[in-house]
Symmetry: C2
Subunit: 339 residues, 2 copies
C-alpha cells in the first residue's frame, strides 16, 4: 500500500509520513485476493494461472531528492534505480517502466535530453525499458517512475518472514552516500579521490538486482528489504513486519567511510546506520541454506555479508565486543533539511 520514504520526512500538516500513509490506507478499499501484506515494497495483482503482476511506483522530487550538483541525467537514472531496487529486494525481474514527468519552466532543451538519456540508461542497465508515460509542467522537477514485472508469488521475498535463528545479512558496505551528502551540503573535507567515490555514490547509486534475483531463486531468504531509507530503518522494518528482533554483531562500514569519518571526527557507525540513499539489500537467511544463498550471490558476481542473527525480542541490538546498544529506528532524511 502507500509507503513512506522515511520516518522523518513528513509533509505539511505536522504529520509524519507514516501517519499520512495510515490516513490514506484507512480510506482505501482492499483489492480482493491480495496476497501481499500491507506496507511491503511493491504491490501485486494475481494474473490467470500462477503468476502475479508486480507493480511499484516511486517519485523523485527535485527539491528534496536531487542535490544541485547532480545532473538531470543522473537524477533521471536515479529515479529508475530507486524503483528497480525495490524489485531487487523482492526478487522480481522488472519488465517495463513508465514515467510521469513534471518539468519546471526553467529547464533547458539539454536538460530534457539528459532526462531522456538518463531514464533509458537506468532502465537498460537493469535489462528493462521505458515504454510510456506522460509529461506536463510542474514547479519542481518530478520524475514518477512506475515499474512492472511478473513473478511466481511463492518465490517473492517479503518484509515479513524472518524467524528466530535466521542469519541477518547484507549485500555490501554502508555509509558512502551519507558521507557523500555531508561533503555536498556541509563543511566536511576529503581528498579529491575520496570525494569522487563518496559523492559518486550519491550521483550513481546501484541497485542490487542480480543479487536479489539470485537470492529469490535460491529460496534461502526469509525476509528482504532494500536500504534506501538507511540500514537502521531497514532492520527495524524487517523486525516490525516479521514480529522479531535482531542482534547485530557487525556493521559493515565501507573503508572510504572509515577514512572520511576519521579525518572529519565523525562516527562511522552513524554514517553507515542512519544514512540511507543507498540500495544494498538487507535480508534474513535460513541458517541451513546459508551456503546456498552465498553461492547464489557469488555466482552472479555479488557478495553477501552476515551481520547478525534474528532473535525473539522485538529490539534491534548492536553488540560489539561486550557492549550492547540499541539501534534506533531513525531513517533517512530528505535533503530539504540541508538545503
Amino acid at each position: 500500500m502507500v509507503r513512506t520514504k522515511g520516518r522523518d520526512s513528513g509533509s505539511g500538516s505536522g504529520l509524519g509520513e507514516r501517519e499520512i500513509i495510515e490516513l490514506m490506507r484507512k480510506r482505501l478499499d482492499i483489492l480482493p485476493g491480495s496476497f501481499l501484506p500491507f506496507g511491503d515494497d511493491v504491490s501485486a495483482v494475481m494474473l490467470d494461472g500462477d503468476r502475479a503482476a508486480i507493480l511499484k511506483t516511486d517519485m523523485l522530487v527535485g527539491k528534496t531528492d536531487v542535490p544541485r550538483e547532480m545532473s538531470c541525467w543522473q537524477a533521471a537514472r536515479k529515479a529508475v534505480v530507486m524503483n528497480i531496487s525495490d524489485f531487487a529486494a523482492k526478487g522480481v525481474e522488472p519488465k517495463a517502466a513508465l514515467v510521469s514527468l513534471g518539468l519546471p519552466r526553467g529547464l533547458l532543451q539539454r536538460d530534457i535530453e539528459e532526462i531522456g538519456s538518463g531514464l533509458n540508461a537506468g532502465a537498460r542497465e537493469y535489462g528493462t525499458y521505458i515504454i510510456g508515460g506522460d509529461t506536463g509542467e510542474a514547479s519542481d522537477l518530478i520524475i514518477a517512475l512506475s515499474l512492472f514485472g511478473t513473478t511466481d508469488p511463492k518465490r517473492m521475498m517479503l518484509r515479513s518472514g524472518a524467524k528466530t535463528g535466521d542469519i541477518v545479512a547484507v549485500t555490501g558496505f554502508f555509509g558512502k552516500p551519507a558521507a557523500g551528502l555531508r561533503l555536498l551540503f556541509d563543511d566536511y573535507v576529503a581528498s579529491e579521490e575520496l570525494r569522487e567515490v563518496l559523492v559518486g555514490s550519491v550521483f550513481m547509486p546501484q541497485a542490487r538486482l542480480k543479487e536479489g534475483l539470485a537470492l529469490a531463486a535460491s529460496a534461502a531468504v526469509t525476509s528482504s528489504i532494500d536500504s534506501s531509507d538507511g540500514l537502521a530503518w531497514s532492520l527495524h522494518e524487517l523486525c516490525r513486519m516479521s514480529g522479531v528482533g535482531f542482534l547485530i554483531s557487525t556493521v559493515p562500514v565501507a573503508n572510504e567511510v572509515k577514512c572520511f569519518a576519521d579525518f572529519n571526527g565523525l562516527d562511522p557507525l552513524e554514517l553507515a546506520l542512519y544514512g540511507g540513499e543507498e540500495y544494498e539489500l538487507v535480508v534474513t537467511v535460513k541458517p541451513k541454506s546459508w551456503s546456498k544463498a552465498e553461492a547464489a550471490v557469488e555466482h552472479v558476481g555479488g557478495k553477501i555479508l552476515p551481520i547478525g542473527k534474528v532473535t525473539p525480542g522485538k529490539q534491534v541490538v548492536l553488540q560489539t565486543n561486550r557492549k550492547k546498544k540499541l539501534i534506533e529506528p531513525r531513517g533517512w532524511e530528505h535533503f530539504k533539511s540541508k538545503i
Copy 2:
C-alpha cells in the same frame, strides 16, 4: 510512449510538449516485441499466452490541473478518472492502480484524508482499487496515478486504424468543462443552476469506461481516443495516427453550453471543439457494424452519436449547411494561462 497533455502547454525551454516528447522518445530504446504504435494512450507488455499487460501513467499537478475551488477529494478522484479514461478509449478494464503522491507543506490533515477518500472513490466508481504507492514532499500537489490491466491485444482499440468511409462518432455532448472553466476563471455569468452543471463537469468528470468496454467487445471500432485534450485535438490525433482525414457534419454541443454561449456572446463551437478536460470517447466505426456498435453502447446505458465520416484527405473539415471550414489542431490549454 511519452504522451503530451496538449500542444500548447509546453514546459520551459521554449519547447512545446510534443517537441519534448520527441526529444525523450529519440533517447529511449524500444522494448522488443512491442505491438502498440508509438504515441498511443497506453503502453503494453505481452504476457505469457495471448494476453497483454496494459499500463498507463498520468500526473495531476496542482498548479496547472486543479482550480482553486476544486476540493482535494475532487482532485484525487479526477487523477483516477483521467487515467481510467485512457483505458476506456482502448477498451481495457482497469485492474488496479498505484499512486505517487507529492504533498506540499501547507496541506492539512483533512486535505490528506480527502485525497485518500477521493482516490478510493474514483477507483471504486470504475471497479478498480488503489493497491499501492508512495508519498513524499513536493512544492505542488502531485498525484501521479499508474493504472494496470490485462487484455487480449486483438480487442484493443488503437488510435490508428480509421479507414475511409468509416463513421466518426462520439459518446456524448461537448463543451461543458470549457464553459465551466470560463465561469471559474473569467468574468462570464450563468444562472445558479447552469453554473452548477458547467462547473460541476470540471470538478466531477466522468470516464466512459462501460462505453469503451462495450465498443471494444463489439469489434465495430477501427480507431479510438478520449477527448481529454479537446474534441478538435482528438479528431486530429486519430487522423494523424490513421493517415486519414475527417469530414465532420455536426458538432454535438451540450444544450447548457449553447445557453451559456448565447448569454455571454461566445461561440458554442469554440467551446465544444477546443475545450478539453472532458472525457468522451471519439471513435471511428465500420459502417456495416454501426448498429452493432450502437446496440453495444446502448445496452450499457450509454449513447453513441455519429458526427461525420472518414475521408482520404488528411484534413479535418467541418461542413455545416453548405459551408466548409477547417477544424484546427488546437488543443486544451493548462489552467496556468488563466491564473
